[in-house]
């Protein structure tokens, strides 16, 4: 009698189904994040909504949901729409829910303008006039909008100059003054009365202050230039708004843009998102510092965790006498991988920040006390905490790799007169390298997604400076930094304007996943290269 089910079939089907479920879940998550995040930057058409009560709104459609009548025939009156109406300074909120039954008409005027502002979010309205050098150009004239765009571009250039002076020149000056001040303080702490040095430092400070005056004057001039030209906008309720061009990032008329134009706009905006600094409590602008912080932290973590994990595994597997002790250590290492990450964070605070950081401060940065330098959260401590968190992963993977190196290859090396160390270094480690890299890949994946321990060891909502800059020694490991994971938390749950921040949350999550994927793919490519190079024998 032929049997319908062979004995093993059920297992094959169950594991197949489990795999399918997992893939669907992962795919669904990625799809959700990608659509919600990537869609948010698209310049949607902006509608001119006239309501029954006579009020008029200019907004982009951001959602539609059922409010009543969950059963039976659904009509317009059962739905309401969510509009992004901008003009937070006028309406108080960027978003408005409107019952569809309230809407009298919707049209899409070509001349509806969206202004992306440095403050108060977007402005929706119509161009009334441009005030350029005291001259007034009416918004109704045909090339007024093109002119506005040009003026905004010029203003942005001026704004960049201002930033350059503020961050660059004035930043340098402040850095220099602070250094001289610390030197002075160091003198007085050590009780050295050295009037010569002292006057030298003071002289330098005076020089810095003089050049600060120059920079400040420059700044003043640029600011006047920036705010000289203005644009007058009018919103749908007839209120006029005078905006200095320096306050505007960009202006566009989505209803007047073709698809190609929109794509170009989208790409530009996306790039801005990746490469710009955040604005407005992180809800606007870019997230570059967070990307930078995340990647740098993972790199430092990798640099630290690799040698430690590999050496520990080498010792456990190759040198330690296999016995009860080693077994206990191995069990501990495995358990360490399961300790909640916040526990590592607490340990990091106690051990790295207060312990080691405190000692470093009291030895090398006495002048700055009581302000801590290393005795507070910073990218180094966060990286080390994560290294601690991920070292078990590397150890376990490396040990497995070492165990799989065939015995006869080691004997081959020893038989040629190599010492044990030479054998380990030249034959065993290269053979185990793919496994070691697998460990690193897992460690990176874990570290990139970790937030809890970072929140107490150095991540901040907004870091004034990147951990790498032009001031000697260029890499400032003591600085606080921004991180994508924390950024998501901050935007989503700490932001005063959570509705406006929502797309940013998805975008940031998308980028975080993208970075994990990129870091992993890099490591995987390297590993596969090595695998090919050391391809296992066909015989």
């Amino acid at each position: 009698m032929p049997r319908l089910w062979k004995p093993g079939d059920a297992y094959i089907w169950i594991s197949g189904l489990a795999l399918m479920a997992t893939l669907v879940m992962i795919g669904g998550l990625l799809f959700l994040i990608a659509t919600k995040g990537l869609g948010a930057m698209w310049p949607d058409d902006i509608g001119h909504y006239t309501l029954k009560d006579g009020s008029v709104y200019l907004g982009q459609l951001r959602g539609r949901e059922l409010v009543r009548g969950t059963s039976g025939v659904k009509s317009n009156s059962d739905f309401r729409v969510k509009l992004k109406i901008g003009n937070r300074d006028l309406y108080g909120l960027d978003f408005k829910w409107i019952d569809e039954s309230e809407i009298v008409s919707i049209d899409f005027p070509l001349d509806a303008v969206i202004l992306e502002r440095r403050e108060w979010g977007n402005y929706h309205g119509y161009l009334k006039e441009i005030r350029k050098n005291g001259q007034i150009i009416l918004g109704s004239s045909p090339d007024a909008f093109a002119m506005l765009k040009d003026l905004i571009r010029d203003a942005n250039k001026t704004y960049e100059k201002i930033l350059k002076i503020e961050k660059g020149e004035i930043g340098d000056i402040n850095y220099g003054i602070e250094k001289q001040r610390l030197k002075l303080r160091g003198l007085s702490i050590r009780g050295e009365a050295d009037p010569e040095k002292e006057s030298k430092y003071r002289l330098k400070i005076e020089q810095y202050e003089a050049s600060y005056k120059v920079s400040e004057a420059n700044l003043q001039r640029l600011y006047t230039e920036l705010n000289r030209n203005k644009v007058v906008m009018v919103s749908t309720d007839g209120r006029e708004k005078v905006l200095p061009l320096g306050k505007i990032v960009l202006a566009f008329r989505p209803n007047d843009m073709g698809v190609a134009e929109k794509v170009g706009f989208y790409v530009k905006r996306f790039w801005g998102f990746i490469s710009d600094e955040p604005r407005e409590a992180n809800t606007e602008g870019g997230i570059f510092p967070a990307i930078f912080g995340t990647v740098l932290m993972v790199l430092i973590m990798s640099i630290v965790v690799m040698p430690f994990g590999v050496i520990a595994a080498l010792y456990l597997r190759e040198y330690a006498k296999q016995g009860l002790m080693v077994r206990i250590v191995r069990i501990c290492v495995n358990n360490l991988a399961g300790v909640p990450s916040i526990v590592f964070g607490v340990f990091g605070v106690g051990f790295f920040l207060y312990g080691i950081g405190g000692i470093i401060d009291s030895v090398f940065f006495k002048e700055a006390l009581p302000n801590p330098t290393f005795g507070t959260g910073g990218i180094l401590w966060a990286s080390l905490t994560l290294a601690l968190l991920t070292v078990p992963v590397v150890i376990v993977a490396t040990e497995e790799g070492l165990a799989s190196v065939p015995r006869n290859i080691r004997e081959g090396s020893l038989a040629l007169g190599a010492t044990k160390f030479e054998t380990t270094w030249k034959v065993v480690i290269p053979s185990a390298l793919p496994a070691i890299l697998t460990g690193l890949i897992l460690a990176i994946a874990r570290a990139t997604g970790e937030v809890a321990p970072l929140m107490i060891t150095g991540v901040v909502k907004l870091a004034p400076d990147l951990p790498i800059d032009g001031h000697f020694p260029f890499l400032h490991l003591e600085r606080k930094f921004m991180h994508l994971g924390f950024h998501i938390y901050d935007l989503g749950f700490q932001s005063p304007n959570s509705e406006a921040a929502k797309p940013m949350v998805f975008m940031t999550a998308f980028l975080l996943i993208l970075i994990v994927v990129i870091l992993n793919i890099t490591a995987i490519v390297i590993r596969n290269r090595l695998r090919k190079k050391y391809a296992t024998s066909a015989v």
Binding site: I409, E411, G412, L414, A415, L416, G417, Y534, T536, S537
Partner: protein, 287 residues
């Protein structure tokens, strides 16, 4: 029944005194060890234990210089084990204990002042299973020299070419020296391991069934190579192939359950063996 016979013979030829396993302070020449001209390796009463299991029983023999000595015997009789005593590779095996003594060039290899890496440089080995390193072909051959601290490119290039030619591998790999050695065929890998071993210029070359995985053509190449290398090295080869033993070796030792049953010139072992047991084995009647 055959083994019973062998045991009987063994008993007959072991004088009671030599069955003791404690190392004697005096170098002791066994009656079983025929005198060979110009011995390089002298094995004196070596017994070896893997834990409680005895793998070698009071082995005594002399291995002549610049000759090929073959070890034959049934599987598991201790040929590899004896071979691995010569370069003290058994030191790595947990629970392995050796008694007796081995002299190379008149010096005991178990002396405390012997540098074991130095010993292994002088006693090269080719393993039963080919074991190229997961590196390029070039680096495999240059490995020994690099360990010895040679890093000059010119010297290494020359060394690699010379030894690959010696191992009859040069023509096949000269255009892909930087490819992984793992991509070679089994026979090529084995020849690469031979090149790697001879590149160190050892005094003694131990070969543990170097042809067990090879086709007749590669085997012939390696046999030619052995004859060639004999000019410079003392070679000890383990083989299961009687024809091979008779073709390449000058002396042959027949081993059985951890002991040397008979050791003599190859001619004698194959044409006129002194013992029935040996005759049965070489003629294929048992084993």
């Amino acid at each position: 029944m055959a083994s019973g016979e062998a045991m009987a013979q063994q008993q007959q030829f072991n004088t009671p005194g030599t069955n003791g396993v404690s190392p004697s302070p005096e170098p002791r020449r066994s009656e079983k060890a025929i005198t060979v001209p110009d011995p390089l390796v002298e094995v004196e009463g070596v017994s070896l234990f893997y834990g409680a299991k005895q793998a070698l029983r009071d082995v005594c023999m002399n291995i002549p210089k610049k000759k090929v000595t073959a070890f034959i015997g049934p599987s598991g009789c201790g040929k590899s084990t004896l071979l691995r005593c010569f370069n003290r590779l058994n030191d790595l095996v947990d629970g392995c204990r050796v008694e007796g003594n081995i002299f190379i060039n008149g010096k005991s290899i178990f002396d405390p002042d012997v540098d074991i890496t130095d010993l292994r440089k002088r006693v090269g080995m080719v393993f039963q299973k080919s074991n190229p390193f997961p590196k390029s072909i070039y680096e495999n051959v240059a490995y020994g020299a690099r360990i010895a601290g040679v890093n000059k490119k010119l010297v290494l290039d020359e060394l690699v070419e010379k030894n690959l030619k010696r191992a009859a591998l040069w023509d096949e790999v000269s255009d892909r020296l930087n490819d992984s050695a793992m991509g070679l065929s089994g026979g090529q890998q084995q020849r690469l391991c031979i090149a790697r071993a001879v590149a160190v210029e050892p005094d003694v070359l131990l070969m543990d069934e170097p042809c067990s995985a090879l086709d007749p053509i590669a085997t012939a190449k390696i046999e030619d190579l052995i004859t060639e290398l004999k000019q410079k090295f003392t070679i000890v080869i383990v083989t299961h192939n009687m024809q091979q033993a008779s073709r390449v070796s000058d002396y042959t030792a027949f081993m059985y359950i951890g002991d040397i049953v008979e050791f003599d010139t190859t001619e004698k072992i194959f044409l006129n063996p002194g013992k029935k047991h040996t005759e049965d084995y070489v003629s294929g009647k048992f084993g």
